[in-house]
């Protein structure tokens, strides 16, 4: 990563987060230990720091197609606590991929915390794919804390596909996603969550289907191991002729605990809202099948969990 100013640990974190092994093509903004480590803009995508220094504005010009924006954040120093506001202004008729993510490497005694507030303003008929990955490592006593807030405002006919992944190493997280959809807007969310040890994760979705023909599909798959705890709130409100579906599918292992609190609110007779939720341990027949193929119980569990969270 030639023109990016980061050390080896930070570069490794970026690889974990974004599968990036080199500087990405397209626009990017790398933030390391609360400082700008590299930025690139393109003819269609501009990135500017907010005047008060609290974050960045990403502006994507109308009609921009097949371009991408990477905005990874890494924290490798102990004791950093920051809140960052990133605003995405996607004009009409775009088709872009946005990859965000935050990695915390904490070897120290103090807690490190990154609270990212991402706001999306998605123009008419624009298509956005958003990938957000959270990752933590380092063996210090200091906690790794991430509290992301995502706000999505979708104009008519726009669509957004969100992939939210947090599989490893984040001690405490409270993730909140709020979305409002105008007519014919479409939101699809795939969340993957795994907690270990004494970790705690809250994931809250509040989706409002405001316009006729809008739709939302939120699928959350999670695994709680050891003595970790998860609270999953998937809420959809339908104010128009719309369709909403939430699915919360969880595996508990060891002494893990999960509280799923789904809610549906229909304020229009043509709102079609569906919720599905299932929590349970790994099915015995799944383990048995893989064991009859020669895997040990632990290997079978690993295969089942890996598949489940894929």
């Amino acid at each position: 990563m030639a023109d990016i100013q980061m050390d080896e640990i930070q570069k490794r974190m970026i690889e974990e987060l974004a599968d990036l092994h080199e500087v990405p093509v397209g626009a990017y903004n790398f933030r390391a230990n609360s400082k700008l480590a590299g930025r690139n803009t393109t003819a269609n995508i501009d990135i500017v720091s907010k005047e008060d220094g609290t974050g960045i504005d990403i502006r994507v010009k109308a009609g921009t197609k097949k371009e991408s924006v990477h905005i990874p954040v890494v924290i490798s120093a102990s004791g950093i606590k920051e809140t960052v506001y990133n605003d995405f202004f996607i004009e009409d008729d775009c088709d872009v991929v946005i990859v965000a993510g935050c990695g915390i490497h904490n070897c120290g005694k103090q807690d490190s915390q990154h609270d990212g507030v991402h706001r999306f303003f998605i123009g008419k008929n624009s298509k956005v794919k958003y990938v957000e990955k959270h990752y933590g490592d380092g063996d210090g006593d200091g906690k790794r804390i991430l509290n992301p807030v995502t706000e999505v405002n979708m104009e008519e006919g726009s669509s957004m596909e969100m992939e939210m992944v947090q599989i490893k190493g984040v001690d405490s997280t409270k993730r909140t996603t709020n979305a409002t959809l105008k007519a014919d807007a479409k939101l699809v969310v795939h969340e993957r969550l795994m907690t270990h040890g004494v970790q705690q994760a809250d994931s809250i979705y509040n989706v409002i289907l405001e316009g006729d023909g809008s739709s939302a599909d939120i699928v959350s798959r999670s695994v709680a191991r050891d003595t970790s705890y998860q609270k999953l709130d998937l809420c959809i409100r339908g104010d128009a002729r719309c369709s909403g579906h939430t699915e919360c599918d969880s595996i508990i292992m060891d002494n893990g605990r999960i509280l799923a609190v789904p809610s549906l609110e229909a304020n229009n007779v043509d709102a079609m809202l569906v919720h599905e939720a299932a929590i349970g341990k790994i099915a015995g027949d799944q383990l048995n099948k893989l064991m009859t193929l020669g895997l040990t119980e632990a290997e079978a569990e690993e295969q089942i969990i890996n598949g489940f969270l894929k």
């Binding site: 027949d285 064991m291 009859t292 193929l293 020669g294 895997l295 295969q303 489940f308």
Partner: protein
Amino acid sequence: MLELKNISYGVEDNGDNKEIIKDLTLTISDGKFTVITGPNGGGKSTLAKLIAGIIKPTSGRIILDGEDITDMNITDRARKGVGFAFQQPVKFKGIKVIDLLRIAAGKDLKVAEACTYLSEVGLCARDYINREVNGSLSGGELKRIEIATVIARDVKLSVFDEPEAGIDLWSFQNLTRIFEKMRAERTSGSVVVISHQERLLKIADEIVVLANGKVKTQGKGEDILPTITGTDAAVDSCSMLN
């Protein structure tokens, strides 16, 4: 050779002990194609699970090639060469057909190799190799994949629990061919199929009739087949109720 010696298996049923397998003794010889048949509820699947180690007998011993495997877990038995195709195939989220075949083969199968197994069970490999082994596959497709995983294991004792269930008549011929081929290629091991199908019974070297948790009859296919095709299966089950 697989020997089942005085096997009993009981479950707790409303406070009572319900014997499903009753002091059963049976030998499955090498190089043979054995079909186990008998009325519904007779204990066939239970017996298969006892062989695979999914359940443990209340009493009796299970001996594989002279080695007592009664106390071995499923994994160890699988590694000793026991293969088992479930009557009801298990579904997985996120695990693909190729993943399952790789686990079964115990190595990083090439796509072409994996395809061979699927073709053998009559699936157009290209369409299936990357599908997830989940509820989006039809019952018959799942059943064929289940059979393919056991073929891919290539072990000395393969037990198939009602492989024909859900498989259409057109493909049935192929299924019969699979077992004939397995028998031809495996002179040292054995293939055990639990089935109600006359066409499979017809190609059996050995037939075992299991009813009410016991071996009712066992013998050469050609000797046993005429004694069961003439009878009405329903009569058997009704007499079980008495």
